[in-house]
Amino acid sequence: MKWISPFRLARLGMLSMNRRNVDYIARYNDRASYPLVDNKLRTKLLAADYGVATPGLKQVIRLQHDIPRFREQADQLGSLAIKPAKGSGGKGIVVITGRDGDRFLKGSGNAVDLAFLERHLSNILAGLYSLGGSPDVAIVEDLIECSPQLNEQSFEGVPDIRIVVFQGYPVMAMLRLASHASDGKANLHQGAIGVGLDIGTGSALHAVQFNRTVHTHPDTGLPLNRLSIPDWRTLLLMASRCYDATGLGYMGADMVIDATDGPMLLELNARPGLAIQMANGQGLLPRLRHIEALRRPHLTAEERVDYAMGRFGAPLMSPANPEPEPVSSP
C-alpha cells in the first residue's frame, strides 16, 4: 500500500470528501433544488428554458397505460434511448441503435423484441431503478450519435464530459471514455478512462485509468494527449447556464457532443465526485478558493466562462495574474 502525507495533499490543493460535503455541497447547494437534478425529466425541461440543449425528448411514459402508445409509435421512433427519470449510475438505460426487422438492436449489438422493451418500461415505472424504489417515469429520447472524432476514442458507448461548475464558473473538466474494462460504461471506478481537459481550450492535459496515469487508450491504442473537444466555449457556456437554472452552487454537469446537434446536457449532479482531480493531476481547492474570494462575481454566463477560461486555462495561474487575497482562511 502506498500512502501520501496529508500535508503534500494539502499543498496540491486536493479537495477531500469531507471538505466537499461540509464546505461546498452543504454550504452552496440548497436542498430544495435537489429534485431538479435528481429527476432527469425536470432537468431537461428546465434546461430548455435556459437555452441549454438536451437530447430530443420523444416520449414520456408516466403510467402503465401509456405503454401501448409507445408500442404504436415504436415503428416510427427509430434509434432511441430509454431511461428512468430518477435513475443513477447508468442503471436502467437502454440504448437502441437501430432495427433488425421486428427486433431492436441494442448498443451492445444484441437484438431485443418489443415485449422486452415494454417489460423494461413497466419496470422503470414500478421504480426498479429509482432511488429507494419510488415510482418513476420513463423518458424516451433521441439517440446521441457521438461525433466521429471522439467516437474513435471511446471503446463503446458515448463518451461524456464532466464539468464541475462552482457558483456558475466552470472550474474543472474531464472527458470520460468507456473502456473494455469498464464494460462500455463511463464510470471511472469501473475502469473508464478519465482525461483531464484544459478549461482554456478543451484539449487533453493528462489521463488516468484506475487512478494511474495512462498515455494511450488501452483498447484502441490511440494516444490520449492529442484529444481536443470541439465547440469548447459553447459547452462551458451551457454548463454555466445550468447554474442560473438550478441555483446549485457546486455541481457537476455531464455533457455530450452529438454529431449533428453539437453540445448537449445529459444530466446534472449535485454531488460530483473527486476523481476529476486525479484526471487533471490538479486539486480543485485553489480554483474553488479563488472563486470564493472574488469580490465582484460576474453576472452572466458569458462573463463567467471567459473569466474561468482565462483564469484556469493552462498554465494554471501564471505569475502575471496574481491570486487575489483569500477572504477567509480554511
Binding site: M1, K2, W3, I4, S5, P6, R8, L9, R11, L12, M14, S16, M17, N18, R19, V22, D23, R27, G89, K91, N123, A126, G127, L128, G133, Q190, V208, N211, R212, T213, Q277, M278, G281, Q282, G283, E292, V327, S328, P330
Partner: protein, 504 residues
Amino acid sequence: MRSRRPFYAGVFILLITGILLSALRHYELDIPWLPGDQQTTWLVEARIDFEAVGDPVRASLNLPEQPPGFRVLSEQAASPGYGFSVVRKQGLRRGEWSIRQATGPQTLYFKAQFTRDPEQGTPVSQPPPAPEPVFWEEPQATAVDQVLSVARQRSSTPESLTRELIKLIRSSDPDQNASLLLTENDTHDLLPELLRHAGIPARTVGGLVLENARRLQPLKPFLEIHNGERWLTFNPRTGDQGVPDNVLLWRRDATSLLDVMGGEASEVNFSMMRQTIPALSLARSEATQEGLGFLSLYQLPVEEQGMFRTLLLLPLGALVVAFMRIIIGVRTSGTFMPVLIAVAFLQTSLLPGLVTFIAVVTVGLLLRGYLSSLNLLLVSRIATLIILVIFISAGISIVGYQMGFNPGMTVTFFPMVILAWTIERMSILWEEEGAREVVVQGAGSLIVAVLAYLVMQAPLVGHLTFNFPELHLVVLAAILLLGRYTGYKLSELHRFEPMSEHEP
C-alpha cells in the same frame, strides 16, 4: 461565509456541561469514575397485579426480614395513588398498600436492594411451641409411621432426620409407603407435616433464585426446621442443608405471601437485576431525591433500567461509526447497520454472533440470487427476504441446537428486517459493482460492527454511560465536531497517492 463561532460555542457548552455535571455527581453522590471499586448488589422488584372491583383495596405483601446471607440496603414501594406502609403483624413484616377506591387492572411495585453478606446468618431464636402430632387418616397414618421409623433408624438428630426424610420422599424409586403419601399429598406440604408429626417444628419458606436480568420469577419453596436453637434451611429437592449463595429467602414463615382485599386474580412475581455500584453511594443517591440524585436512572423500574443500559450504549456505537466513516473512510453497507449488528453481538457475544451473522447473510445472498431472476418489485422482494431470513435463522437454530451448540439460539437477537435489508443491498452491490465491492463493504461493516461491539461491551463504558448519562453530551459534542471535520480521510491518503507525481 457564515460564522462558525456559534457552532463551536455550542459544542463547547455541551462539553463543559457534560463534564461538570458528571464531576458534580461524582463528588456529591460518591459515584466512582471506575467500575473497579464496586460491590455487587441485587435489585429485586416484586410486582403485584390484580383486578380491582371498585371497592376499597388493601393489598398486603410479605416482606423479607434479615434474609440469611444478604443485607438489605434499601426498600421502596412505587404505586400511584396508593398509600403504603410497612406494618408488623404477629411479629411479621408486611408491606400494606391501600386506596379508597380502585377499578380495573392495578400494578403495585416493591423494590428492595440487597447485597451479599456471608456474615449474615440465621439468628438464634426461641423455638416455637412443640408441634402437635398431625392427624392422618388410615392408611396414611400407618405409612407415616413406617416412613418415620425408617428415617429415625438412619438418623440421630433433627437435621439428619430431615435429610433422610427428603431422601425417602424424593427418591427416584420411592418405597410403597412414600408413594402412597405422595399420591395423597403435595410434596411441599408433606415434608413439614411429616416433620411436625415427628415433633420437629417445620415450615415451608419461599426463596428467590438470583440470576441477572430475570423477569416474572416465582418464589421457590424451601424447607426449614427448628433444631431448638435456630431455623435451618433445607432444599427439599436435593436434601442439601443451608441456603445456596444465590438464593434469597423472601418469605420466612407460613403465612400467605400476598393478600388482596377488594381485588381479584391477584398475583405477584419478581424481577431482579445485578448492579455494580457501591452500596453506600447507591443508598445515598436513592435517598436524595432532591439535588443531583434525580438524574439517577436507578429510580426507574428494573425492567426499564435494563433497556436503558443498552439504549445508552448506542451513542457510543454511533460515535464509532462516525469516526470510522469520517476519519478512517471505511465503507460500510448501510450507514448505521453496523451499530445494530454490534448491539446484537452484545447479546450473543462476539464469536457466535459473527458466525451466525455471516452464515445468515451468505445463505441469504445465495437465495437472493434466485429472487433477482424473478423480477419482483422492491417491496415484495424485501418482504420475501424477511421471510427467508426468518427461515434461515430457524434452520440455523435447529441445526445448531442438534449439534449441541447453544449459540444456535442466539440468531434471534439479530434484527431480522436489518438482515433482510443488508442482504438486499449486498446483492444489488454484487450485481452492479461485482463481488469485490461486496467483500470490501461487507468486511468494512463487520470491522466497524466489531469495533463498536468492543467499545460497547467494555465494563468502563457500560459503567460510565449508565451512571453518568450526562456524559452523552460529551459524545454528542464529539459527533458534532466530527460532522465538521473537513480534513482528509485515512483512505484518501491512499486513494490520492498517485497525485504525488504531480507535485511541483
